[in-house]
């Protein structure tokens, strides 16, 4: 029994190490579970970063397991130790130099000890050291867990989106949209993308599907891009289109019949999301809707000049609530 009791007894240093391992394990579990559940796709760019988050989770898991297996190894690591927890068995005549103050998992607490003191100083602060270490690790873990449990994996507030500011230059989405439209048209004609200077509606219809109602089904970023492409404007002006996005009040134009339809474009992670939007104009007051609601809007495309710039405006005939799409962020 004594042997068992001894085997489950931990020294202060070992408890300190265990706390660190526990904190890392929590990070590892969060990273791996987000990857496995697919929740990660609402947070970071799938290419590269999705895999790197899994690698981080697996790496932290491996590191935790390795350090757990070597928990009792005697080599000092500055984890809540005072430089005298060595168990190498060699002569430590020089160990007066090992630590100044004490360190606790890397957090220094300089108590202003004489550097050349003997190792018989009062250890009455040991408990607070462990508690302090726990509190510091808590900073690493508690906010993470709170956000994991409470985050609904998307932005909820219209104020957040307004604060981020809508992209104004249609070129912001050029690299994506050019490939989807000009590139696809060129491919359908067996030509080089650079040589496509003119479109016809028939060209566009080869790469953009029509809905059962006969609307060209375009995305918000594609429609936003057309505001900077005279050729596409020529083809699309007056055409029936439909697009899916989130709806938000338009605060800048001052028009009471206008809402904005937006989607979020992300470079790396959701924190850098930038809303890309088009205006949707109604004949009168916009129909009842919830801010941030996902909607499908259909109507006619117009390109009026506003503030010296062509705007992509969808003159809405119909707006209906719809389900949030699987890929709600545009990476």
């Amino acid at each position: 029994m004594n042997a068992i009791a001894k085997s489950v007894q931990f020294s202060r240093v070992e408890i300190c190490r265990l706390m660190g391992i526990g904190a890392m394990l929590i990070w590892a579990i969060v990273l791996i579970s987000f990857y496995v559940s697919g929740r990660i796709d609402s947070y970071i760019r799938p290419e590269y970063l999705r895999t790197s988050s899994l690698l981080a989770g697996l790496g932290l898991l491996g590191l935790s397991i390795f350090n757990l297996r070597h928990l009792r190894s005697g080599e000092a690591d500055g984890c809540c130790d005072h430089g005298h927890d060595h168990a190498h068995g060699h002569d430590h005549t020089h160990d007066h130099e090992h630590e100044h103050g004490h360190t606790c998992c890397g957090h220094d607490h300089d108590h202003g000890h004489d550097h050349h003191h003997e190792h018989d100083h009062d250890h009455s602060h040991e408990d607070t050291t462990l508690a302090g270490n726990g509190a510091l690790l808590g900073i690493m873990v508690v906010p993470l867990l709170i956000s994991v449990f409470f985050s609904q994996d998307r932005f909820l507030s219209a104020a957040t989106i307004q604060n981020k500011g809508f992209a104004e230059d249609p070129k912001a989405v050029a690299s994506r949209v050019e490939k989807e439209i000009a590139g696809a048209v060129a491919a359908s004609k067996g030509e080089d993308e650079e040589e496509i200077l003119e479109y016809t509606l028939a060209d566009l219809e080869k790469v953009v599907q029509r809905s059962p109602e006969g609307n060209l089904m375009l995305t918000v970023d594609q429609l936003f891009y057309t505001a900077g492409d005279a050729e596409l404007q020529r083809v699309l002006k007056g055409q029936s289109v439909e697009a899916i996005g989130q709806v938000i009040p338009d605060k800048d134009s001052g028009k009471k019949n206008r809402l904005r339809l937006f989607i979020l474009m992300v470079s790396c992670c959701a924190a850098d999301a930038q809303p890309v939007s088009i205006a949707i104009d109604f004949p009168g007051t916009p129909p009842e809707h919830k801010e941030m609601q996902w909607v499908k809007v259909s109507g006619t495309m117009l390109y009026p000049m506003e503030n010296g710039q062509k705007q992509a405006v969808l003159k809405a005939a119909k707006m209906e609530a719809t389900k949030e799409p699987a890929n709600d962020l545009l990476y």
Partner: protein
């Protein structure tokens, strides 16, 4: 109250916070693993042998190390922490730390791509960013040659340096076997991860919150002249705390600002931002971090303003 905050915005801050943590975890993990292996396997004397004996030359080389050892700003902090503890001269370490997130192939290519997408400024902005940042970091490194370690480093890092110098062998005598070295490396990695992650969490929490509640259009009226646009863009870079590998895409989208102001954003941000303030605090004394922040703000501002004067003259 300058702005009202809705409960949904608190949620949105949690969402943004978690997204940065999930993205940054990998880079901090890599940085701390490298840090652990440096501690276990890199003899302090090797650094002396590798770097030029002439300290000025060492600083000049230090600013280019990022091109060879590309590390982003989150990953570099634990690495620098360990290199300084191993005796890398502070002047070289700080030059490397500030320069590496900008002067590395990934950042340069992404800057080129972001600005090429919106015109022909790709080469101009990418090369100016690298050259100006290099000049600034080398200058900071040269100034750091005159500064005492005690004024800058946390006591814990100073103690580690003294241990290394005092014995000249640190714990090598107990790490003779490969197994013991590996245990040591990975235990140090764990300690560094928990330490750096803690600072990272605090910095990211502040960033995520401010990023969501401060309206972006506050800064637009200040875009008119470089005298107001440059400091504004540096403050924006400080609060946004973007990764150096992707910040160019955000800068490029801020159309109302001049290239000089965008450069200030792209140079100051990777050297000093809200999350870095906390990460740097794991190595340096808070007072030094504050002085460094103010110094970089002024230096970057002046350099970019002058660049703007030349750019506007060339455009005429």
């Amino acid at each position: 109250m300058l702005f009202a905050i809705e409960p949904a915005q608190i949620h949105d801050s949690l969402y943004a916070f978690l997204s940065i943590l999930l993205e940054g975890a990998f880079f901090i993990f890599i940085g701390t693993i490298i840090s652990g292996f440096i501690d276990a396997y890199l003899p302090p004397s090797l650094l002396d042998r590798m770097l030029p004996k002439n300290r000025v030359l060492a600083v000049i080389v230090g600013g280019l190390l990022g091109a060879v050892l590309p590390v982003c700003e989150c990953a570099i902090v634990p690495v620098i922490r360990r290199l300084v503890a191993k005796g890398l001269p502070l002047s070289v370490a700080i030059t490397y730390m500030l320069a590496a997130p900008i002067i590395n192939p990934v950042t340069m290519v992404s800057t080129f791509a972001a600005f090429s997408e919106r015109g022909d400024a790709g080469v101009l902005v990418a090369s100016s960013r690298a050259i100006l940042a290099y000049g600034i970091t080398v200058l900071v490194g040269l100034i750091m040659m005159k500064v005492a370690l005690e004024a800058v480093l946390r006591p814990q890092i100073q103690a580690a340096i003294q241990r290394g110098n005092g014995h000249g062998h640190e714990h090598d005598h107990s790490l003779a076997s490969g197994g013991a070295k590996l245990v040591h490396a990975l235990r140090v990695a764990q300690r560094d991860f928990t330490d750096v992650a803690m600072y990272f969490v605090v910095g990211v929490a502040l960033t995520a919150f401010l990023n969501n509640v401060i309206p972006r259009d506050w800064i637009e009226p200040l875009a008119g002249s470089d005298a107001s646009a440059i400091p504004t863009m540096m403050v924006a870079a400080f609060i946004l705390s973007l990764c150096s590998t992707s910040d160019a895409f955000v800068a490029a989208s801020l159309d109302e600002f001049s290239y000089a102001a965008k450069l200030a954003f792209l140079i100051f941000g990777p050297m000093m931002d809200l999350k870095l303030i906390f990460l740097y605090s794991s190595i340096f004394k808070p007072r030094f971090v504050l002085i460094l922040a103010i110094g970089l703000f002024i230096l970057t501002g002046v350099v970019c303003y002058q660049w703007g004067v030349f750019d506007h003259a060339a455009a005429r």
